[in-house]
Symmetry: C2
Subunit: 419 residues, 2 copies
């Protein structure tokens, strides 16, 4: 190690943080890998959360017993309830949503498509969707498509690259022609946490409805949908909810809107009586009206197991650890990486960022690739970002310390500068 | 047993059919149940196909190794290819579709929604969708929704209750205002097989495009999409393809249409470069443009295992056994059930029906419920139908014989008439 301008936290300090971590016991509830022994630090729980041990047994039980033995009979007594049952669990564990407002189904893209159509239908006399041009690609694509399909215009706001949306940025866009404000709670690049309550209130003050994508916040940052009066929301389950690769997404619609909500893909599972095979479509009275096709059972049960761990740990404890983990990473980056030309592209204030961090360097692509080869798994994001997700239920402080130690060595090698 | 007007096939005859069955060896490739020993006859493979033994091991491998150990890295080297890889397998095994025309994603409802929007976009100067008012509820609901969203009208045709659509029925509806003809290949109630080639040709002659729902035919009846020049098609995977409960659906779009196809839910997995996070949406060049969100990995791998068995058995052998199984059931129904007031609500000609059969009786609901309690698992369908699916890879002739034997006893008890 070389001397730096900032004193780096020591490994001993990281070890002490782990010893004092009230969530430390959750790590052993996940599969940590045998063939994955080549992974020194898994900092990609924000892309794909680790596998809960309970999921292994549950999948086997569902496949071998519920499908293999009980066959079609499992629909009646078990499976038909899963979209709502897992939705309620996500609602209480992660979203601050009372029961009866969340169902799990489809992909995030499809859920967002439904939510935006439903939201626009609540303000059919208005002509504009407000969205951020820095949002995740699927969000931008779906916003444009829904606007086009409904004859609306998109009024894009342009948050700073290393930040995110805030009420001041949105204020000039919130004119009385706005039907829907569609934003992400935590920015997928910078990790900035939007002020969901303030922006929802501003949207309402302008007469618009607020639709939130919670993919990067659910399970890592308290959301508080009911308290903020959010209208609709969607999100994925495979990040901090540990629901598995391509797990089904969720959609929230506030109870007060449900009886009037029209979604664009009316299918048999959204009908008032699924098995009546009725001649005309009558939407279910409650949140089930947001469903369309047959629920994806294998995905749903994996989501349920993942979310149970979030429920058990408690979102406030998870949030506290996420802030402490990212704080440690920031301090290490300041000490070790800043001298190598790395800048922090996430908010410096822990309360203003989610559970991931983005570091900027011109060589980010090669840096990220070499780190992955060395067992430090993060994400490269175009054009010059290395993104690390610090998943509170599975990431240790020593893992962060080790990852950053390797990161500076790799970058020093790449840039020919002393670490 | 009492004497009847028609000589019933004997159990010995059913046993002989099983001994001569070239597909008999496939039954042991499926989990036949231990806790499911209470199932005497599973005649619901048309609602949920049995669990292939290979799926058990594959699910475990994907969950524990690909997710648990390899984590995010499995996306790059394995999972990202699944929608197309499993789609091509379904195309070759069951649909008569050359590679590059099928992807697996979403639910059947969502796939049909996309297919109908894409199809209508190919005939944007036209104003009508032709569909059957006897089609499966989701199909009718989605047809109505897409028509409403695009300012089209639905011209409903009304097939006979115990039959299905044919070219003669459709002919008066196929005027020069028709954009899309949207039908099911095998009727979900009667099991009538529509003449897909003739109807597709008639649709084309009228200047329309043809969209088929193959849910009740794929894996039991050869489809021949390419040979018939079908434009788009969708279907589910959890029936004769044995893909598991709520398994992802598939969507076919003929190569000749792909470059001009616009689907309504543009998401990141349908983009030309999924991970480019591009500012604007550019659809993938090929069939991947029909994708939207993140692929449902756990569902996809289960589908792959199920379809492999169809590929291995061969769709022509499957079709031959389906006809023989339903023939046996019809002969038994004629001999044993007709005297109890049961009528056949499916085509009598085996070449005109799929792999399920529907029997009509005023007491069908109670009959079906009592049969299920006695271990003979079929479906009740409103208002007076008992539906049995005879899945050629898993159903034996003796199973059919036994089921019908119990069916007549139960119905005799219910109706107070001698069996």
């Amino acid at each position: 190690m070389t001397t730096t301008d900032v004193a780096a936290p020591t490994r001993a300090e990281a070890e002490a943080l782990d010893r004092g971590d009230p969530l430390a016991r959750f790590r052993e509830r996940f599969v940590l890998g045998t063939a994955g022994a080549d992974v020194v630090a898994y900092l990609d729980g924000n892309s794909l959360g680790r596998l809960p041990r309970a999921t292994v047994a549950r999948m086997q039980q569902v496949v071998e017993h519920e499908w293999g033995n009980r066959l079609i009979r499992s629909w009646d007594d078990t499976w038909v309830r899963l979209p709502r049952q897992v939705g309620d669990l996500i609602g209480s564990a992660a979203l601050g949503a009372a029961p009866g407002q969340v169902v799990v189904a489809d992909s995030t893209s499809v859920c967002l498509f439904k939510a935006l159509h439903a939201a626009a239908g609540l303000r059919s006399e208005r002509s504009v969707i407000v969205a951020a041009d820095t949002d995740f690609p699927t969000d931008r694509y779906v916003v444009e498509a829904v606007a086009d399909q409904r004859g609306l215009r998109v009024r894009w706001v342009s948050p700073p690259a290393d930040g995110g949306v805030d009420a001041a940025l949105l204020e000039p866009a919130l004119l009385n022609d706005v039907a829907v404000v569609a934003l992400s709670h935590v920015d997928y690049r910078s990790a900035q946490v939007a002020d969901l309550a303030a922006i929802t209130a501003a949207a309402h003050a302008a007469g618009a409805v607020a639709v939130w994508d919670l993919s990067h916040s659910a399970g890592s940052v308290p959301v508080g949908l009911d308290a903020a009066g959010v209208d609709l929301a969607v999100g994925c389950t495979y990040k901090y909810l540990n629901g598995g690769p391509g797990g089904p997404a969720y959609i929230y619609a506030a109870s007060r809107h449900q009886s009037g909500l029209a979604q664009p893909v009316p299918g048999w599972f959204g009908a008032a009586d699924v098995f009546a095979m009725a001649p005309a479509y009558h939407a279910a009275a409650g949140i089930e009206r947001m469903l369309s096709g047959t629920p994806a059972v294998l995905g749903l049960v994996a989501v349920e197991e993942g979310v149970r761990l979030v429920a058990e740990a408690g979102i406030d404890a998870i949030r506290a650890k996420a802030m402490a983990l990212t704080d440690l990473a920031v301090r290490l980056a300041d000490a070790w990486l800043a001298p190598l030309g790395v800048s922090l592209a996430s908010p410096r204030d822990a309360t203003a960022r989610g559970a991931h961090l983005v570091l900027r360097h011109p060589e980010a692509r090669r840096w990220s690739e070499q780190l992955a080869a060395d067992g430090v798994v993060g994400d490269f994001r175009n054009p010059d970002l290395w993104r690390v997700g610090l998943s509170p239920l599975t990431t240790t402080y020593v893992e962060v310390w080790t990852a950053m130690d390797i990161a500076r060595s790799v970058l020093a090698d790449l840039t020919g500068r002393p670490a």
